[in-house]
């Protein structure tokens, strides 16, 4: 760190990476909202956003514009400074944690610098990530307190109590993985999961030969859902009791910031579960000559998606859709062709598998939200403290035992 800070080229490269990542993350967040609305609608036998652009693809843009143009109301008696700071804090923390996520093993060349696919490769990356998450409680607590509204205050108290309670099982559920890997570095955590048991089952921590971290993954996933305040743990937003929880009094873009932060932290949590339990950027297939064809899977998937989009697009209802959807399909096909080039195919493997796993985890997230009913508050606390916490602790003991026995 001492040597690297002094180099201006390092700063420049980092700046480029930050800007690119920020753009990608904000786009991903916007379309995650669209994705959630679509999946929710289809789970409930509805269509979801459909009118704003073909299949509602322009809905995020319309929503953003709407949030920007709405009147920004500050309630009377509010603590003005904290009222403004809280949403900024929430969104900054939610987005900055993504800087620690490594997206692939390959290094890229920018301005003659060789740099890995991660903004900050910190030795204690996992701890820094938890540090950022643990400070996130303030966004919730302060927004609720500064609003000078009883609904906001009660919502904030509920949700911060919930976040503190589930942070314990969240942190404990990861100790098992740490015991297996012996490092806090997120990139190293992934590389230590490489290899296959009996040549077929990947040695991901979820299926680790020492002790499969199934309990750990369960605890992690449930606590993560609670930590991001999503259903069935969204008691802070129990509209029948608390209007909308801690952000009741927020309007306009400050509300949008809370909204964006929720989805950004969803992405972080999904990335983290991919890194910790699902082998990160590692391909699920063994890297043997017989399975060389699996390297073309990304291209094949993209090509199929592109072709389907073209065929569907030309028969779309509106003229705009007839034009835009095939164009998108052609772009996907071109991307598929690009990905199958021999000098690109190596770079695309890591990010592809990583993003594919993250996407699956995110889908499960959305699926859970629209399937399970909300907990009652005492049930939530009992579940967290009397079931999840001991279970995570049990997992730590079991894994330590397995690690010692394995030596």
């Amino acid at each position: 760190m001492t040597e690297t800070i002094a180099q201006p080229s390092f700063l420049l490269v980092s700046l480029v990476k930050v800007v690119v990542l920020l753009f990608l993350v904000l786009t991903a967040v916007a379309y995650l909202v669209w994705f959630e609305r679509k999946v929710a609608a289809h789970l409930q036998g509805r269509w979801g956003p459909y009118r704003t652009g073909p299949h509602g693809l322009l809905q995020p843009l319309a929503d953003g514009l709407k949030f920007l143009l709405k009147e920004d109301v500050t309630p009377s008696g509010a603590d003005r400074f904290l009222f403004v700071v809280a949403p900024f804090l929430t969104m900054t923390l939610a987005i900055s944690s993504i800087a620690l996520i490594p997206f692939g093993p390959a290094s890229i060349h920018i301005f003659g610098e060789v740099t890995p696919l991660v903004v900050a490769n910190v030795n204690v990356g996992l701890l820094i990530l938890f540090a950022i998450t643990s400070v996130g409680v303030y966004g919730v607590a302060l927004s609720g307190w500064s609003s000078n509204s009883k609904y906001s205050l009660l919502g904030a108290l509920r949700s911060s109590a919930q976040m503190i309670s589930y942070e314990i099982s969240l942190t404990l559920s990861i100790v098992g993985v740490l015991l297996l890997a012996g490092t806090f570095n997120l990139s190293e955590l992934i590389t230590r999961q490489s290899g296959h048991t009996w040549g077929i089952v990947p040695k991901w921590n979820l299926l680790s030969p020492t002790l499969p971290q199934i309990l750990g993954f369960f605890c992690y996933f449930v606590s993560a859902v609670a930590e991001t305040n999503r259903a069935p743990f969204d008691l802070a937003e129990a509209e029948s009791e608390l209007v909308a929880g801690y952000h009741t009094e927020y309007s306009s873009f400050k509300f949008a910031m809370f909204y964006l932060a929720e989805y950004a932290s969803m992405i972080t949590v999904a990335c983290l579960s991919t890194i910790l339990f699902l082998g990160g950027w590692l391909s699920p297939f063994p890297q043997t000559p017989g399975l060389d064809w699996t390297r073309y899977l990304p291209s094949a998937l993209l090509a199929i998606a592109g072709l389907a989009l073209i065929i569907h697009g030309v028969r779309y209802l509106t003229l705009f859709g007839k034009f835009v959807l095939p164009l998108l399909g052609i772009a996907l096909c071109a991307l598929a062709f690009l990905c199958s080039r021999p000098n690109v195919i190596f770079y695309i493997q890591g990010p592809f598998w990583f993003l594919a796993k993250v996407f699956i985890v995110l889908f499960v997230y959305v699926w859970v939200r629209w399937t399970l009913p909300r907990f009652r508050y005492d049930q939530l606390m009992r579940f967290g403290w009397k079931f999840l916490f001991p279970l995570a602790l049990f997992n730590v003991v079991l894994t330590s035992l397995a690690v010692v026995m394995h030596k």
């Binding site: 204690v124 701890l127 820094i128 643990s134 409680v137 307190w145 109590a161 942070e167 806090f184 403290w385």
Partner: protein, 176 residues
Amino acid sequence: MTPQLAIFLLLAAVAIAGAVNVILQRHPIHSAISLIVVMVALAGLFLTLESEFIAAIQIIVYAGAIMVLFVFVIMLLNAGAEEPTNMSRMARYAGVPLAIFLLVELGYQIGAATLSWTQQPSAEGVTRGISMLLFQDFVFPFELTSVLILIAILGALVLAQREDGAPSKSGQGEIT
């Protein structure tokens, strides 16, 4: 001036400004938030000294756990801005000489101390070293501390229990 030194000085300035602000603010929540700023700035200082592990722990434990409880309690009690009483006005006359005395002593001690800049072991080394100290060399005091904390938790539970002996419904005291 090297960039590291500039960042170090900036963070130090933030930490001191935050610490002063803790006293100057009238409202407890504002004071608590200033204290959080101090904690985060201190973590930044540890980062510039290449102690990543200590920096992360500093934020997780102090900013993420202890100060959350402070803020929580202030919010729960709905504490308002503090009002000066006769005693607190008197504290000014006793406090200023005491502060000057403390500053002089600190200055003397810093001037007398020899500061050595030794190379820190790698982050993994720091983590391993701290774990070895905690769980091997000082395992008895460490476990004793956890028993002490357990006693404190039990005490809190006893105090939080209702008068008629009925256990509270949520198992979390009276947070909700």
